[in-house]
């Protein structure tokens, strides 16, 4: 390569300058967490609260993953909140009122989600109604359906243990472990850290092989150590409580699938292509309508999953479930660096965005701050994050 080694200090400065927006969310997350740790007198980083944060964030994370695809495609889904709410309600009715097996109930609701996504996707792609309008209409419709479905029964208490475990349970530990530390959790964390290190190292080696720009070795290693430390620390916090929540496992699984789709498959390439330039994508043989339809279907199915998680955590389905979920999901995705002009975005970063938003919620709840102030604070953080992103993209 042409230019040789710049000094480490210079590299750090230029990295920070050129990636201000993407580092911003990590920075924001750390600051928010530390501030709450101080303001709450150390209540934030407790084993119980971290576990709680995972369960609280799970449904938003799932929505944010689906929303990221939609936003990359330059669409939006305002209805996903009430689709989630409705899904939770229908699942509860099927299980509690009609006595249908939990797995079959969930399958039915997932299919319902698919149907909803298909309906909205067809309106957007075939009929040509803008997604904003289609899903705004959906917001009305599904809110109405949610209220209607619970009109006779009111809030339904969910008693099914399997269903409740989704967002209240933890993965099992080795039988007979009495150390107070959840061994399976620590084991998974170590394996995860190793996988991250190996994958990153391989990717860096590949990039070097092709002469693509890479960060210098000390910075690369520092980054790996930081990531590994965060994983181990988070796992430790969970391990001294009850271990990894099942919700985190569900989110992790969905995240892995979607990250793979976006970065490694044809479908992912096509999504970025449509978002970047839909006409060029179409002329390159991309079936724009089919891909868009997929994104809407995936969004609503994920909304159904989010509905399960939310209902599971509360052990009940209520008519108010779903209110403003979409706002948290959209904010998460944008804070996670999805471009407002489309074509750019990562689901992994959307999860970071979710943690920013949900740490705010969690922290402010710990401080017993009124919900009205919570909205204001979230709004301000959101708009600052997007401002940073827009600014840095202009360069």
């Amino acid at each position: 390569m042409g230019r040789k080694q710049q000094s480490l200090g210079k590299e750090v400065v230029s990295l920070l300058k050129n990636n201000a927006a993407s580092y911003m969310m990590y920075f924001a997350l750390v600051v928010i967490m530390l501030v709450f740790q101080i303001w709450t007198g150390g209540k934030f980083f407790t084993a119980q609260n971290i576990s709680n944060l995972f369960n609280q964030a799970a449904y938003v994370a799932v929505l944010a993953i689906g929303m990221t695809l939609i936003l990359i495609l330059k669409h939006i889904d305002l209805s996903c909140g009430y689709v989630a709410g409705l899904s939770g309600a229908v699942a509860a009715i099927l299980m509690e009122k009609m006595g249908i097996n939990v797995w079959i109930s969930m399958l039915i609701v997932l299919l319902m989600g698919l149907a909803i996504g298909f309906y909205q996707g067809v309106l957007v792609t075939k009929v040509g109604i803008p997604a904003f309008i289609t899903t705004l209409a959906g917001m009305f419709i599904f809110r109405g359906l949610l209220t209607r479905s619970l009109a006779s029964s009111g809030t339904i208490i969910v008693t099914d243990e399997t269903f409740k475990a989704m967002c209240q349970g933890y993965i099992p530990d080795i039988p007979g472990n009495s150390s107070g530390i959840h061994m399976v959790t620590m084991f998974i964390a170590v394996v995860a850290a190793v996988i991250v290190v190996v994958f990153q190292a391989k990717s860096r080696m590949n990039k070097k092989k092709y002469g693509f720009p890479v960060v210098s070795l000390p910075i690369f290693i520092a980054g790996l150590i930081t990531v590994s430390a965060v994983i181990i620390f988070a796992a430790w916090m969970l391990a001294i409580n009850n271990g990894i929540p099942i919700s985190a496992l569900i989110v992790g699984g969905i995240l892995a699938i979607y990250a793979f789709i976006l970065s490694k498959t044809k479908l992912g390439r096509h999504i970025y292509g449509i978002g970047g330039n839909d006409q060029a994508a179409e002329l390159s043989g991309v079936d724009v309508k089919k891909v868009t339809l997929f994104a809407f279907c995936s969004m609503s199915v994920l909304a159904a999953v989010a509905g399960f998680l939310y209902t599971s955590r509360l052990s009940s389905a209520t008519p108010t479930a779903g209110l403003a979920f979409e706002m948290d999901a959209i904010a998460s995705s944008y804070i996670g660096g999805t471009a407002v002009s489309g074509g750019v975005g990562k689901v992994t970063n959307a999860i970071i965005g979710t943690f920013v938003i949900m740490s705010l919620t969690n922290g402010m709840n710990l401080m017993m701050i009124d919900i009205s102030y919570q909205y204001i604070v979230k709004g301000i953080i959101f708009v600052i994050a997007v401002a940073f992103d827009v600014k840095s993209r202009k360069k």
Binding site: G2, N206, K207, Y210, G211, F212, P213, F260, K264, T265, K266, R269, Y272, G273, G276, N277, Q279, A280, A281, E282, L283, S284, G285, V286, D287, G343, V344
Partner: protein
């Protein structure tokens, strides 16, 4: 105004051919020792650029030579303080802090991409931003009357109340010029004004420039079209690599195309169109028979009974004026993505009749379409080179369901080398490349789709002489390897220089077929204008 030592020095440096009168008399604009640096790159270094009052001054140079940057400095896009050197306009040093400042002094730029509001009427567009008001309310009657006056000046005979979107590009450009005139502009800058115009409209525009000149308006024109430049310019300034190479006076200097090109590229190009030594043209591989199509929205017939064919190893030219239906014809056969209503016609690939429902099927069957509008619908600009090159043929990279990234990079590197894409690596974002290199990426993408028939729509529009030559060479190599090429181009010399056979289109119809031996510019133009 007293002449400062700096002025004297720069005039001396600039050639000092003869005694200069006080500059405010003869020169409307003098840009002195302009240097503009971007991170890692010096876009302009010590550029001097002098424009006489009331002349047509052409600014030429390859892409990346600094023409646009220079004009951005002049118009205040790059504001005072971000560059070094002086802009002396109307005898005063100007410190423009934005376009508004330069406009206030009578400098206007007509951009390649027009900046009109399609949904607003012509008169609303002309007075947008400097509305005529009466006690705070817009005086629409006055606006319309005045608009008519300026439309007349640009010889545009239309109702000022029609929406701009109903006008073709040529007319829209005239509206833009009327807008500039309505702001009392004294110095009008045209950035590639004829690049999206047909021959007729181009000629029209050049005539208008002459007329404006006679009314005392100074014009600067940036252009790649040397024929137009030599026809119209009073002075030609050549930039290369951010420096002024020379300034040629049409009356006294050699302004032949050859001399201009020599100065632009720093070498002489003996033959702009590389010759194919051996031709091996065999069977018909692609044929369109009696294709007719309508625009669904307007019901206008866009293609009437189109028939043409191309043989293996052959380059056919599809010539015609802008709006003749050439691009529409290409898109109609390439899977019809814009959903024209096809009323009749057959498409044959060899002896197989085909019916493509979308571009995907067309690609699968060996058709490729290199778009005329690489930024608009050709490339995903925010993605990198390798992404764009592989987009139309990801199947070939699949390993199970996952894309094999090693293969991807391998493919991209192969084309980068073969097609000579100038970029540090294939991970470079496409929007950072020059026009010529973007075009090479687009061509690479379609070559990787492994077509039998390659449709090139305006393959050299807006790219510099050097890159053009490379693209011609690539075309020759491809047909030698057995590919068939359909080249759509508005540049007559290019079509005549490259094709083996050509079809001429006019108003949606094929008006003639000529072998290259019998084709002359006159014959082709006659067919193109005929309706």
């Amino acid at each position: 105004m007293s002449i400062s030592p700096a002025v004297l020095r720069s005039q001396y440096q600039y050639g000092g051919r003869r005694e200069e009168p006080s500059m405010s008399e003869e020169y409307i604009l003098e840009m002195r020792n302009i240097t503009k640096e971007f991170p890692n790159i010096k876009a302009l270094s010590d550029v001097n650029f002098k424009v006489r009052r009331g002349e047509i001054h052409c600014l030429v140079g390859e892409n990346g030579a600094g023409k646009s940057t220079l004009m951005k400095v002049l118009s205040g896009v790059w504001k005072y303080g971000t560059y070094t050197g002086d802009i002396v306009y109307e005898g005063e040093i100007q410190k423009f802090r934005g376009i508004a400042d330069s406009e206030a002094k009578g400098i206007a730029i007509i951009y390649q991409e027009l900046a009109l509001f399609p949904e607003l009427s012509v008169y609303e567009n002309i007075y947008f931003g400097h509305e005529i008001t009466d006690k705070g309310a817009i005086d629409w009657n006055e606006t319309i009357v005045n608009s008519q006056k300026y439309l007349k000046k640009v010889r545009l005979n239309i109702d000022p109340s029609v929406k701009v979107k109903t006008l073709n590009t040529g007319k829209q450009q005239l509206v833009e010029i009327a807008k500039a005139l309505s702001k009392n502009c004294k110095l009008l800058i045209f950035d590639e004004p004829t690049s999206s115009l047909n021959e007729d409209d181009s000629q029209n525009l050049l005539n208008l420039m002459r007329e404006l000149k006679s009314q005392g308006i100074t014009c600067i024109m940036i252009s790649h079209k040397l024929r137009e430049i030599t026809a119209i310019a009073d002075t030609i300034t050549v930039l290369r690599d951010g420096s002024t190479i020379c300034s040629l006076d049409a009356k006294t200097d050699d302004i032949s195309e050859a001399n201009i090109i020599k100065n632009m590229v720093g070498r002489t190009i003996d033959d702009i169109y590389p010759k194919r030594l051996e031709k091996n043209i065999t069977d018909v591989v692609f044929e369109v028979r009696n294709l007719s199509a309508e625009d669904r929205a307007t019901g206008r017939q866009i293609l009437k009974n189109i028939s043409f064919n191309v043989r293996k190893g052959e380059i056919i030219g599809l010539q015609g004026l802008m709006g003749a239906g050439r691009t529409e014809c290409a898109l109609a056969v390439f899977g019809n993505p814009y959903k024209y209503k096809i009323t009749s016609g057959e498409i044959w690939m060899g002896d197989r009749r085909v019916n493509f429902r979308n571009p995907k099927q067309a690609i699968k069957n060996g058709l490729a379409y290199v778009s005329e509008d690489r930024k608009g619908n050709g490339l995903v600009l925010i993605q990198d080179i390798k992404y764009n090159i592989t987009l139309a043929n990801l199947d070939e990279l699949l390993n199970g369901v996952a894309i094999d990234e090693n293969k991807e990079v391998g493919v991209a590197n192969k084309y980068k080398k073969e097609i000579n894409i100038k970029a540090p690596t294939v991970a470079q974002k496409v929007n950072t490349l020059s026009g010529g290199n973007q075009q090479k990426v687009q061509i690479s993408k379609w070559l990787f789709a492994r077509p039998k028939v390659l449709i090139l729509d305006e393959p050299t529009r807006g790219i510099d002489v050097g890159a053009k030559y490379e693209i011609y060479t690539i075309m020759n190599r491809l047909v030698k390897e057995g590919m068939s090429i359909i080249m759509i181009s508005s540049e007559l010399p290019e079509v005549l220089g490259m094709s083996d056979r050509l079809y001429v289109m006019s108003e949606g119809q094929i008006t003639g077929e000529l072998s290259i031996e019998e084709a002359t510019e006159e014959k082709v133009m006659k067919m193109a204008i005929n309706s």
